[in-house]
Each structure stands twice: as structure tokens, then as C-alpha cells.
Amino acid sequence: MKYFRTHILISVDESTIRAGVKNFIASLRNHLDKYSLTDEIGILETGSIGFFGKGLCFVVYPENIIYANVTNEDLNEIVTEHFLKGRPVKRLIVEKPERTQYDFNYKKRIVLENSGIINPEDIEEYIGVGGYEAWEKALLEMKSDDIIEVVKESGLRGRGGAGFPTGLKWSFTAPIKAKQKLVVINADEGEPGTFKDRLIMEGDPHKLIEGIAIACYAVGATKAYIYIRGEYKLCIERLRKAIAQANEYGIIGKDIFGSKFCLEIDIKVGAGAYVCGEETALIESMEGNRGTPRSKPPFPGVKGAWQLPTVVNNVETIANIPSIIKNGADWYSAIGPYKSTGTKVYTVLGDVKMPGLTEVEMGTTLRTIINEYGGGMKDGKKFKAALVGGAAGVFLSDELINVNMDYESLKNYSAVLGSGAILVMNDDADIVDMLWSVIRFFRHESCGKCSPCTNGNELLFKLINDIRNGKGKEEDLNKLIQVSEVMVDTCFCALGQSLLMPIKSAIDNFKDDFLKRMN
């Protein structure tokens, strides 16, 4: 391996590919060549470095300088000034937001520790940073029960929305005797405002593969599927490559590390349906059917895809597993508050300076996340509301954003962590409009299987439409809440039960916005 004095980490993801990053890299290589810098300066293509809307961007190490909005025309200047003479080009550097320790929180990252640092398409780089050590340890030194015990003690809970304890989920499936058991990774990621799983898969696909392998061994599954939404072309491509490389290195496949354990990993894709994120709908879709939910029980862990015991876990959940196995349950459970251990990846969006993703310790306050990691409010505008947890989330007002972001604290606000999407709105936003958009989303995504959901959504949409058009009455607010309460009691799956939270929180916390439309 060559040693470079400087590393340039260039983000190659969906948005920068659009902005022409491939071309840019070629041109950068030419420039380095021209000034004979190729032996001194290494270029690494990485996943997203964590923020958006800035065109092409890259980080220069060890200085940790971030350049953004760079075009081919700027290259000569950067190469001659910065790389040749050591004078960074100030006008292209992204300023760290004032009074924050905006360093992408690298030190505390677990799930994203390698994202933006290693080349996701090269298994050697993952192995080089200690990748697959946990898998080797799990397979060769631990019994399945021990692994499940460690995961239980770590306190890890599902990151797909419901927050179910992962070790406990595994312990239901592990003892079942069946001709085959499955692990299915939920990478459908349809919750509006969420793209954390995409960036985990694009930035560090091998971490997911390693987590899958450990999960499979723990529950006795010999086959795993990753169900990825159809739009995530780059994820699908990168994971295909990662699976092929892992097979080639004997990390998955037959008789792994001479242990007799065999594991096959396959990819399934979706075709555009939010409800397919629901685990039983996802299983239906995987089998080649319409993605409508099944009744529970039996739970997938007992009877899932093709009636085989199937553990369904979210991408982020599984990406935590390698570090837990490597460092132990105590290490993990020391991070974050009791009952909500570890870190959480958030996507901070909307009217903030730096929309993007961040991984922070559980229990960090919402205010900190918005101000420090989202860079604070854009254009000096005032904060008005945050929609936390995606469309199936809650609208929180300024008084409420001191909440600690963890499963237990959010319960007190009748809120949930959900998918980790945080949509920030400034004073210009109108909560009636936003709620209208939320209800429109659910109305469109209702799968049509049960009438409380189809009719309920129709009714809710009519009510909010009337209010939005100035034809609503105050009693309509109660109706909105009542209808969504009935839906909680009667809808077949959690999709139809999701509307109460956004509706109730919008009305409770932003009643004035509704009343304004009424006279």
C-alpha cells in the first residue's frame, strides 16, 4: 500500500453523480498528474460525506478541510494553491457553522464510522479498517446463544420505526426447528424524509453484509435477502458488488472459515409502494405478490416468507451488530440513556442551513441536532416546527424541541423516534398545508385492503381539504382526531394507524394555524 501525505475523499453518491463527479475525478487525476502529485496525494471515492445541496464536495485530510460547490474550473486553483503550495482556497471552503463543533461527529459514529472514509466498492478497504473481524469472532469463537445474549444485553432496539428489542426478536426465531430459516433486511425506506439506509448502503455496504452474516448465524438462518426499494439503483449495484466480493473472499458462501456454516445472500427489489416497508407486506412483495400486509400472529419470526421463520430487521439495526460483537455489550449499552442505547442516524431537512444526515448518541436533544448538526435555521429565519419521524411522525413546536431524542423520552410527548427523519420548518411554513400534504401521502399509499383505512383516509382528506380552502369549522378539528382514533382501533395494519400522531400533534401544538383558516 502506498502512503500519501494527503487524502482527498470525494463523495460519490446519487446527487454528486448527477453533478458530474465522475468527470470531475478524471479531471482531478489529470491535474495531479500534471503537477506530479499522484504519488503524494491519494483520491478516495467514498459515500456521501454528510450534507447536500452543495454540488460537488470533497474533504481533504489530514487538514479536514471541506470544499463544496467545486467545478472543473476551480480545479487548477485548488491543485496549485492548496496541494502544491499548501494554501487552502478560502472561497470554496465550507465554513463550519458558528459556535458549533461541526465535525460530522466522526468520533462517536458507529453505523457511519466508515462512510465517507473508505471506498465502499473495495472489500480490502473494509477489511483494512477491521471489517469482518466481528464476523470471524462470532462464527469461530461464539455460540449462537452467546451472540443473542450479547445483542440483548447491548440494549439495541430496532431502527425501522417500532423500536422492538433486536436480541429478543432473534431469541424467538433461534430455537425454532425448520428446514430453513431466513433473515430479511428491510431496505424499503419509504418514510418521507428518510434516506439514512440508502447512505449506509452506499457508503459502507460491507458493514451491512457483516451484520447480516452475524444475524444469520445467531438465529440459524442459511439464507438472507436484502429487500431494496426499486429506486435505489446505486445501492442495488453496490450491494451486488459487495456480495460478490464477500463470496469471492469466502466470507459468505459455503463452509465459511472452515466452520461448515453456509450462507447465501440475495437481493430483492421493490417497485414503489410505501406499505411494502411493513414487514408482512414486504414478505408478500418478496414472494412476487401485491404488497398487502398479512395478519399477525403468526409473526414473521415464526412464519414469514414462504412460511419459513423469518427475522426482519432494518438496515441501520443490522449495521450496529458488527461493532456490538467486536466491542461487547457493555461498551454499547454505555452509549445513550437506559433503555435507548447506542446511536441514531438522523436526516435533518427543510429550512436548515445544512440539510443532511448525522449520527449522534441516543438522548441528544432535538434542539442540539437541529442547531449543531443541521447548522441551525437558514437565512436567519425563526424556527416554527419540526416534523419528527417522517409522515407518520409528530409536529413539535419550539417549547417541545428540548426533548431528548430516545425511545423513552419521546413517549412522554406521545411521539416516536420513527425513522429518524427531522423536517424543520421556519415561520413561513403553514401547518395546515403541511398536514394536508401528510394526509395526501397516506391517502395515496393506503394499500386498499381494508375499508377503515381507505374510507378513513378519504374522509380525512376531505376534512383537511375543506379547512385548507377556508370552508372548515372548528368542530372539524375534533372530527379529524376522532376519525384517526377510530382508524387506530380498526385498521388492519400500522399504516392506517399512523395518522393519529401527525394529526393530533398538529392540532394540539399549532391550533392557531387551523383557526386562522376559519374566519
Partner: protein
């Protein structure tokens, strides 16, 4: 007609979604015809009606011919907050179509969709497999004109 695609996938029902994607991607009008459904039905040995049911469930598929470029504009709350309604207005005007219609020259079809998972660049649309973000009027003009020029 679809042998090449069928060769890639064993005749099992769970390959249906893959096969439908491939058939649609291969068609210049981005849709799946009745004939195609019949052929898939024969290959996988599953009823026509089942395939049709699946086809119409998922929003990425179309049973009707579409334009050479399928525009899917995200209308979910984060993009809505960032002005997806303005983008929609602009697209309708520039292309002179309504939602789910195809332009007379067959170059574009305008559709709405739910969150595409690229909300950091809201408002966002996809044209075929490409994502376009941070949209505003000028950008849309640029993008549309560029594609018009390529034809």
C-alpha cells in the same frame, strides 16, 4: 421477445418483480403491454390476473405507453415544504400537459410520486433513472431543453 430477460431469471414467482422491471426498462415507452403479461404468465406459469394485479399495485409500473422520458416529481412533505407545487406548476406549463399525461411529441410523461429518498436536495424529481434536485424554474428549463435538444 423476452427470452433474453427470461434467461436471467429462473421461472419462480418471486422473480416476477425483477422480470417486470426489466421488461418495462427495455421498452422505449416504459410500459408493460398485455402481450408481455401473457408471455410472463406462460414463462412463470402463474395466472395472467395475478401478474396484472401485481403490475397495477406498484407505482413504478405502467400498463399504458408513456413518453420516452418519465418524469416522477416527489410530492411528499419534505419536497412539498421546499416548493414541489411550484415545480409542478412549472412543469405543467413548460410541457403543456396534465398529471399522468404524455406530451404530444411523446418525449415526456409527467407523474407524481412519493418520497424518493433524496430529500436533502428537495424539491426533487427523477427522469427515468436520473435524479434532479434543488429544482427551480431556471433549472427545469435547462433540464427540459437539454433533453429536447438530445432527441
Amino acid at each position: 421477445m423476452y427470452e433474453k430477460i427470461f434467461e436471467k431469471y429462473s421461472p419462480k414467482k418471486d422473480n416476477l418483480i425483477y422480470i417486470l422491471h426489466d421488461i418495462q426498462d427495455q421498452h422505449p415507452q416504459h410500459y408493460i403491454s398485455e402481450d408481455a403479461v401473457s408471455e410472463v404468465s406462460e414463462y412463470l406459469r402463474i395466472p395472467f390476473s395475478h401478474i396484472y394485479g401485481v403490475l397495477t399495485f406498484y407505482t413504478m409500473y405502467s400498463t399504458k405507453p408513456r413518453g420516452k422520458n418519465v418524469i416522477r416529481l416527489c410530492e411528499s412533505p419534505p419536497c412539498f415544504l421546499k416548493g414541489s407545487e411550484n415545480v409542478l406548476r412549472k412543469l405543467k406549463k413548460t410541457l403543456d400537459v396534465k398529471i399522468n399525461q404524455t406530451t404530444k411529441d411523446g418525449l415526456f410523461t409527467l407523474e407524481l410520486c412519493a418520497c424518493l429518498g433524496v430529500c436533502g436536495n428537495a424539491p426533487v424529481m427523477m427522469i427515468n433513472d436520473d435524479v434532479y434536485g434543488n429544482l427551480n424554474d431556471e433549472k427545469i428549463d435547462k433540464i427540459i431543453n437539454k433533453i429536447r435538444g438530445e432527441k
